[in-house]
C-alpha cells in the first residue's frame, strides 16, 4: 500500500511539473497577451522552427543569434542618396521616388514583421520577396 501511495505521489508531482513546463513553454506563443485569443502567427513560427533548429545547430560555436536576426542580416542593405523622401506603402514599409538612375529605395522600420517568399522567375532565377505581415 505504501509503494502504491508513493507511486501515485510521484505521478502527481510529475503531472504537475509537466503541466507547468508545457504552460510556460507554449502559453506565450499559442495565445495572444494572456487572453484566450489564439495566435494565428503560431503557424509562421512553426514553419520557421525547423530552420531555427538547424540554424542553432550549425551555429553552435558561434554567439547565439535568433533566426529572426540571422534572416534580417540577409536583407540587402544600401546607402540611399541624401535627401531621399519616403512615402508609406505598407505598415512599417516606406518607398522612395525613383532617383536619376531609376532606382527606388525601400525603408523598413525596426520591428516590422516580414514574411519571406522565394519566387522562381521565368528565366529560372530565384528571388526572395519580403512581404510585410499586418
Amino acid at each position: 500500500m505504501n509503494k502504491l501511495k508513493q507511486s501515485i505521489r510521484v505521478k502527481i508531482i510529475a503531472s504537475i511539473s509537466m503541466a507547468f513546463v508545457l504552460t510556460y513553454l507554449i502559453s506565450g506563443s499559442l495565445f495572444i497577451d494572456n487572453s484566450p485569443q489564439f495566435n494565428a502567427r503560431i503557424f509562421d513560427t512553426l514553419q520557421s522552427s525547423p530552420g531555427a533548429l538547424f540554424a542553432s545547430i550549425s551555429n553552435i560555436f558561434q554567439p547565439k543569434q535568433s533566426l529572426d536576426e540571422t534572416l534580417t542580416a540577409e536583407i540587402p542593405r544600401v546607402s540611399p542618396p541624401a535627401g531621399s523622401s519616403y512615402a508609406p506603402i505598407a505598415k512599417g514599409v516606406y518607398a522612395s521616388e525613383p532617383d536619376a538612375n531609376g532606382e527606388r529605395f525601400i525603408k523598413i522600420e525596426k520591428g516590422t514583421r516580414l514574411r519571406i517568399e522565394e519566387i522562381t522567375l521565368d528565366d529560372g532565377n530565384k528571388v526572395k520577396v519580403y512581404v510585410p505581415i499586418d
Binding site: I12, S15, A19, F31
Partner: protein
C-alpha cells in the same frame, strides 16, 4: 453533509466558504496581501466545479494541485494558471492518477 438531496463533503464546504469570503472581500474591499482577490475567486469557482466532478478518492491529487495553483497566481498571469490547472488534470488522466 446533506443539504436536501445534495451531499457536500468537507472540502467542498470549505471551498464554498472560501468563495463567500472572497466575494465579501471584493465587495467590502478587504485587503489580501500579495494575492489578487478576483483571481482567487475565479480559481476557487473552478476548483469547486472540478471538485464536484472528481470522486473523493482523488483528494490528495486535488489538494496538491490546489496548493500549487494558488501559489502560481503569485508568479504567472491568471490565464496561464488556468491553462496549467486544466493541463494538470489532463496529465493526471494520462498518468492514471485519476
Amino acid at each position: 453533509m446533506y443539504f436536501g438531496p445534495f451531499f457536500f463533503d468537507t472540502k467542498e464546504i470549505f471551498l464554498i466558504v472560501a468563495s463567500f469570503l472572497l466575494g465579501l472581500a471584493l465587495l467590502f474591499g478587504w485587503e489580501i496581501w500579495w494575492f489578487d482577490k478576483q483571481v482567487l475567486l475565479t480559481l476557487v469557482i473552478l476548483m469547486l466545479i472540478t471538485k464536484g466532478l472528481l470522486p473523493a478518492i482523488h483528494n490528495e491529487a486535488f489538494f496538491i494541485l490546489g496548493i500549487v495553483t494558488i501559489f502560481l497566481t503569485l508568479y504567472l498571469p491568471v490565464f496561464h494558471v488556468v491553462i496549467f490547472y486544466f493541463l494538470s488534470f489532463l496529465f493526471f488522466r494520462l498518468l492514471k492518477v485519476i
